[in-house]
């Protein structure tokens, strides 16, 4: 199968070259329109054994992840592939990423309002509650759909999409077939009369179905599982509202402990924004909405849909220790954020303005009640549980309050101050029994410009908590020579650990050189074991000690 696809793709590509070369003039024009671009990334690490922090002995000593994308475009035609290399994959990446291969390749062309892509594609319907394929190399996440992706704009303001294929599963495909369609109508674009109205409305709907063989000796499993959803977006002047609802029929799977309850998800977002201020309010409720093209898949494997996380994401090292990870079997979350800038030259704004931001986010369990007196919640082979949509579960998963002050005081000094309160349910989020974490973190981030090119940035962070590993202190000094050089030294110190031997320093020394689109970074130090999350998807990063080299480039 794979053989066939590759041959067809190769012939199409070759066909374009040979066909055009037959006509000298046409060929010249063809070449003029031809464009090749791509990128490359390499991450390699030499590992030291470090039993203090729990870094294991790595038998290969050095591990690496690398990939290169090559894209070719010629007017309406494009083709590309990604070469991936794991010999062997870095610690913390799934061991099934092993070897060398081309797990991503596509050919695409646009004609008569159609865009047709064969091979791998990334796409999403609405906000992704029923379908989203995407990739993030930092997470080792890729659920691209290999098959067909057709998009058509039959009329201004109307977009219809169709997809049909199998999902990438490391260097193979998942067992299920995914088929789906989506339609979006931008009302103001469809009716000329409404083009310039302040009130803008768009609506959309999607349907996705997966098929997987089933021959379970005990349970009658659905071979076809459908999910569908509807959405609306309304904007008026400075206001914007987005709402989306999705439903999935019964889909017993490893993730939901093989219960037959249908699933659903609701996402509501509201924003108000005008110069100098912005306000955002969002809520999400998901109930048994994990949707995978293999009912036996675990973790992040073979996700068909995407459940966005509304928990505040931070890049500061200490508060990032406790980052929320989406709970696929059900959660109720909300986030509110306000941001305000005091104008330049005002009393509180000073010469350059002052920005304040407040964020609050919270996640709870959804309400769950037994289906009858004799059946415990989540019993395999049953309807699992009953859930009242408007009741919130008592179990708190996560809470985050963040206040940020940022101000440029002068041409040479900038200051950012942050405070975070985080409550974190490690039993639910990390899956091992532990008391809930309550933590307070302060961050002071200062940038001093020495002259036009040289600058020093320092970060001081302190996290106070009695639970988990206890309190931490963090310090970082960064020296940059713009635009090319970067040097930094940092230390993360777990001084508050209740076990004296675990009061460890996680030091790191790093340097980077960037020229054009190429960046080379070298760092040496210790990496704490923990969970790395991007966009609600997380992976476990084991403790490591060693020398890391990263090279990234694009052309």
């Amino acid at each position: 199968m794979r053989y066939k696809i590759i041959f067809v793709l190769t012939f199409i590509v070759l066909g374009f070259f040979t066909f055009n070369s037959a006509q000298a003039q046409g060929f010249e024009k063809f070449l003029r329109n031809s464009q090749i671009s791509g990128n490359f990334q390499f991450d390699g690490m030499y590992y030291n054994k470090d039993s203090l922090i729990g870094a294991p002995d790595v038998p290969q000593k050095v591990l690496m992840n690398a990939f290169a994308n090559i894209n070719y475009t010629n007017g309406p035609f494009s083709a590309g592939f990604r070469f991936e290399n794991y010999l062997y994959a870095l610690q913390g990446y799934d061991a099934r990423y092993k070897g060398i291969g081309i797990p991503y390749r596509f050919v695409s062309f646009e004609k008569d309002k159609f865009t047709i892509t064969v091979g791998n594609s990334y796409d999403q319907f609405g906000s992704g509650l029923v379908y989203r394929t995407w990739q993030d190399p930092a997470l080792g996440f890729d659920n691209s759909l290999d098959g067909l992706n057709v998009k058509v704009n039959p009329w201004k303001g109307i977009t219809i999409k169709g997809i049909w294929g199998k999902q990438r599963y490391y260097f193979d495909w998942g067992p299920g077939v995914v088929r789906g369609a989506d339609a979006e109508f931008s009302i103001n674009d469809i009716f000329t009369k409404l083009n310039d109205k302040a009130l803008r409305v768009s609506i959309g709907g999607s349907f996705v179905s997966k098929y997987q063989e089933a021959d379970d000796p005990v349970y009658k499993l659905p071979k076809n599982v459908a999910a569908y959803g509807g959405r609306a977006s309304v904007s008026y002047k400075n206001f914007l509202f987005n709402g989306e609802y999705a439903h999935k029929i019964n889909d017993p799977s490893t993730i939901n402990n093989r219960i037959y309850k249908p699933g659903n998800a609701t996402l509501l977002q509201f924003t108000y924004a005008k110069k100098g201020m912005g306000f955002y309010l969002a809520a999400i409720r998901t109930d048994n909405m994990s949707f995978k093209s293999d009912r036996n898949a675990e973790g992040n494997d073979l996700n068909i849909n995407y459940i966005p996380s509304l928990a505040k994401q931070t890049t500061y090292s200490l508060p990032a220790i406790y980052t929320y990870g989406t709970q696929p079997n059900g959660e109720f979350g909300l986030q509110a954020q306000g941001i305000y800038t005091f104008k330049k030259k005002s009393k509180l704004g000073g010469k350059y303005g002052t920005t304040l931001a407040l964020t609050y986010s919270r996640y709870n369990a959804i309400h769950k009640a037994p289906i009858d007196e004799n059946t415990p919640i989540d019993s395999t082979g049953t309807l699992g549980y009953k859930s009242d949509f408007f009741k919130i579960g008592k179990n708190a998963y996560y809470e985050n309050f963040n206040f940020e002050f940022s101000k440029k005081f002068s041409k040479t000094f900038k200051l950012i101050v942050d405070y975070f309160y985080i409550q974190y349910n490690s039993t639910v989020i990390e899956g091992h029994e532990m008391p809930n974490i309550h933590s307070h973190t302060a961050v002071v981030d200062m940038t001093f410009s020495i002259n036009d090119k040289h600058a020093i940035r320092t970060e001081l962070q302190h996290m106070y908590t009695k639970q988990g590993e206890g309190s931490w202190a963090f310090g970082l000094v960064e020296y940059t020579i713009a635009p090319k050089w970067f040097f930094s030294v940092s230390d993360m110190y777990n001084y508050g650990n209740s076990i004296a031997e675990k009061r460890l320093h996680y030091y790191n020394v790093a340097t980077a050189f960037a020229v054009g689109s190429t960046r080379i970074a070298l760092s040496y130090g210790r990496q704490r074991a923990g969970i790395l999350c991007v966009g609600g998807v997380c992976r476990y990063v084991p403790a490591a000690n060693g020398l890391m080299l990263s090279i990234t480039s694009s052309f």
């Binding site: 990334q41 390749r105 914007l240 440029k408 960046r519």
Partner: protein
């Protein structure tokens, strides 16, 4: 596995052959035009990158996200001098947010709250990011009046904005740059 490697080789070979027959300087290894991809505006309209234009004057395209500190640092730094840059060179900055549906609704409040005057678009599933071969953000491009990429840089440190405006000045005057 073997077939995939074969495929890559055939692909590369065919591309190389195409170049080998080239008589005069053509585009493949020269300046690249920005690819045409659909993005969303902050109020939900569709915008195709083929429509990026600034009356023949340079354009800065900056890839960023609400969760990326150095990106926000770069855009905040430029915001302080943006008006001067515009008056001097006519440059326009287009900020492409790669926030996905988790944080994309947060982009407009942030952009407004920070008082940025940029043209901002949402690249919710990273289609434009892929087409522009961006690995890490911040990643900044300078586009000339013909929508060709003349310069790019990844990462930001305090003072990098001075190199950026120097490049923009040269492009605004119609000078060419050393190849990057």
């Amino acid at each position: 596995m073997k077939t995939t490697v074969n495929f890559a080789l055939i692909f590369l070979l065919s591309v190389t052959m195409a170049f080998a027959q080239e008589q005069q300087p053509a585009n493949p290894l020269g300046l690249k035009k920005i690819p045409a991809t659909d993005l969303k505006t902050l109020d939900g309209k569709t915008f195709n990158t083929a429509a990026i234009a600034n009356e023949g004057k340079p354009v800065i395209i900056s890839f960023w996200a609400t969760w990326c500190k150095p990106c926000i640092n770069e855009l905040t730094t430029i915001a302080d001098v943006y008006q001067d840059w515009q008056e001097e060179t006519g440059v326009k900055l287009i900020a492409i947010s790669i926030d996905d549906s988790k944080t994309s609704a947060n982009v407009s409040p942030l952009v407004n709250g920070k008082n940025w005057d940029y043209e901002v678009y949402l690249d919710i599933n990273s289609d434009f990011k892929r087409a522009m071969n961006v690995n890490l953000i911040p990643h900044t491009f300078v586009i000339n009046g013909n929508n060709e990429i003349v310069w790019q840089h990844t990462s930001f440190s305090q003072g990098s904005e001075l190199e950026l405006i120097n490049i923009v000045r040269k492009i605004a005057k119609g000078e060419t740059l050393d190849a990057h």
